[in-house]
């Protein structure tokens, strides 16, 4: 790419819009995942008894439910991302590509 083309894409309002949207989506989901996972790790390290409590009087513990929820949440977060990226970011990206095509 020539320096002029690079500058024209970088300054294009649609490109800047795309970058902002992508950063917001990626940033918030990454943060959510890190908080969920390290929150869990710290709970395991500092207060294992919380996870060892009985869920509803039986032998199944809160920790077992949390473990299963962690698996489902990881999958759900990737699902949210794919859905948003396919329906919001991709059309925006295509628009940028089209408008910046030479």
């Amino acid at each position: 790419m020539t320096p002029e083309r690079i500058a024209s894409i970088a300054n294009h309002p649609d490109f800047q819009h795309l970058v902002r949207r992508k950063r917001r989506l990626n940033g918030s989901l990454t943060l959510a995942m890190l908080v969920i996972y390290y929150g869990f790790v710290l709970l395991v390290a500092f207060s294992p008894s919380t996870l060892g409590q009985s869920l509803s009087g039986g032998v199944t513990t809160v920790g077992m439910l949390v473990g299963v929820l962690m698996v489902l949440l990881s999958f759900a977060l990737t699902g949210i991302y794919v859905h948003r990226a396919n329906n919001v970011l991709d059309p925006l990206n295509d628009k940028v590509k089209q408008e910046c095509a030479q």
Binding site: M1, I6, I9, K22, T30, V44, T61, D90, V96
Partner: protein, 520 residues
């Protein structure tokens, strides 16, 4: 000799060799060889990625950990799984938009080719070889046990088949072997989990209650035990597992096998789903085994230990729920799993040699595709030989620390520099090289000085480095090294490299100019 298992495995081998032949006819260009022509769908690649992650080590190892310690086994599974959303949000699409064959393409995008590729290839080879040795030794012992053939033959068989898949069929055959195996393993474990749940009247509460009743540790198996009791160790292990996956060369390479960023994104979605599903099944298998294998005297030897060692509980459970025929199937799947994973590792190591070292560093991009492919085939052969020899050398060594070390090393040598190259304008060649090296050497040194090697292997009284997982420290050193040596770099080359970031950023964001699928 276990003839059911051997004949089922022979069927798998014949079928995969036919697939390899089919793939060989379609592997003409370098792009076909390294990335299956970039034409896989997100679903296919997702299954292959899942196949790479649900290895024999995780199937047998995690179910064994649950069998022995209950809940703690789940912590390992969650650490590996939690890395996948992060990989998706941060690196998957950028990797696809910037790279072509290896992750070194991405790191060296705006940096000096020779030093960066030398470093990345070194990091790839170290990680791939360590992983290979761990797999080879594990494979030899497992196959010796399951099939009743000698360790020597088992290791040689794995080596020969691995080299055959990769040299003839390239990435296309490697991927399909992985997909076939992933489907077999997922079906097999689904059946096992279903039969276990059926045994307990489809009540997980009844299953957990029986497990607690018969396990020596009682109710303690339902809560975290001693595994992550130290917060520093817990965070360090978590970091290593989470980001180690994002530094494994054979995983990173998979992102170049799909046509564009959108398919790369979909493949992580499917992969996360399959891996998560598999780990949920493992909970049922691990806790089910406590009751169905643990209380059955025929699975224990005279001294009361599990026949074949702790890692065999999932295999015994297969016999308990499905008889000898299903035992044969699961044994064959375990063997197939090892084969598929080592093939991927060999391919990633070979591409570091042929693409990064030979084509880009030695020939400065002047090599023809035919020459490059020839070198990668020779490299595969050499890596295969090396893996067999190392597998024999380390047969009776205690190498349990290796599999843990691999993730910590990958998280320290490859991941920080890869992440910085994509996200930080200031990274320079000097910073990238120093960061990788700082990560590699600190990870290796800290493991050697830590409890895993200093106490367990070298039999010293006290570890010089108190934590069993180095990732927290070695990753920090890698980031710090990359940062310090980049910001203090005031050479003309560094200024130019920072200036090229904007063009790279535009391509990584939009895919404008990204390498597409090869046309046939």
């Amino acid at each position: 000799m276990n003839w059911t298992a051997i004949s089922m495995f022979m069927v798998f081998v014949c079928f995969t060799l036919l697939v390899t032949r089919w793939a060989a006819l379609r592997t003409r260009s370098a792009s076909d060889f390294y990335t299956a022509g970039g034409g896989l769908t997100g679903m296919q690649n997702g299954l292959a990625i899942a196949g790479d992650m649900i290895s024999a080590a995780s199937f047998l190892g995690i179910s064994a950990m649950m069998f022995m310690n209950g809940y703690d086994g789940l912590l390992y599974a969650l650490g590996v799984l939690a890395g996948w959303p992060i990989i998706l949000f941060l690196i998957a699409e950028r990797l696809r938009n910037l790279g072509k064959y290896t992750f070194a393409d991405v790191v060296s995008y705006r940096l000096a080719q020779t030093p960066v590729r030398l470093t990345s290839a070194f990091g790839t080879l170290v990680v791939a070889l360590m992983y290979l040795v761990a797999q080879m030794v594990g494979a030899g012992k497992l196959i010796e046990l399951l099939f009743g053939i000698s360790y020597l033959y088992a290791v040689m068989l794995v080596g020969v088949l691995m080299v055959a898949y990769v040299t003839f069929g390239g990435m296309l055959a490697t991927t399909w072997v992985q997909i076939i195996k992933a489907v077999m393993l997922l079906s097999g474990t689904t059946f096992m989990a279903f039969m276990v749940l059926k045994h307990f009247g489809f009540s997980t509460e009844a299953m957990f209650a029986s497990a607690v009743a018969v396990h020596a540790k009682g109710q303690a198996i339902m809560a975290p035990g001693g595994l992550l009791s130290n917060p520093v160790d817990a965070i360090s292990l978590g970091l290593g597992m989470m980001f180690g996956t994002a530094g494994l060369p054979h995983i990173l390479m998979r992102f170049f096998t799909v046509s564009d960023a959108k398919e790369a994104r979909k493949s992580v979605f499917y992969a996360t789903g399959f891996i998560g599903y598999f780990y949920l099944l493992l909970i049922v298998i691990g806790f089910g085994a406590i009751v169905m294998v643990g209380t059955e005297p025929s699975y224990r030897d005279a001294a009361g230990a599990i026949i074949g060692g702790g890692n065999m509980v999932a295999v015994h459970l297969a016999q308990a729920v499905g008889g000898n025929l299903f035992l044969g199937f699961i044994s064959a799947v375990a063997f197939a799993t090892i084969l598929a994973v080592v093939a991927g590792l060999a391919l990633s190591g070979a591409s570091a040699v042929s693409h990064d070292l030979y084509a880009c560093v030695m020939r400065k991009g002047q090599a023809t595709e035919q020459q490059e492919m020839r070198v990668s085939r020779i490299a595969t052969l050499v890596i295969g030989l090396l893996a067999v020899v190392l597998g024999l050398v380390f047969e009776s060594q205690n190498i349990a620390f290796l599999s843990g070390l691999v993730l910590a090393v990958a998280a320290s040598v490859n991941f920080p520099v890869l992440l910085l190259s994509m996200f930080w304008k200031g990274l320079t060649t000097r910073g990238a090289v120093c960061g990788s090296m700082a990560g590699l050497f600190s990870a290796v040194v800290l493991v050697v000085l830590g409890p895993a090697v200093w106490v367990n292997v070298l039999h010293n009284e006290q570890a010089l480095f108190p934590y069993s997982n180095p990732a927290l420290f070695s990753m920090s050193l890698a980031f710090l090294g990359a940062w310090v040596f980049s910001v203090t770099d005031s050479s003309a080359r560094a200024t130019e490299e920072r200036g090229r970031y904007l063009a790279q950023f535009i391509r990584s964001m939009t895919g404008i100019g990204a390498a597409g699928a090869s046309k046939h």
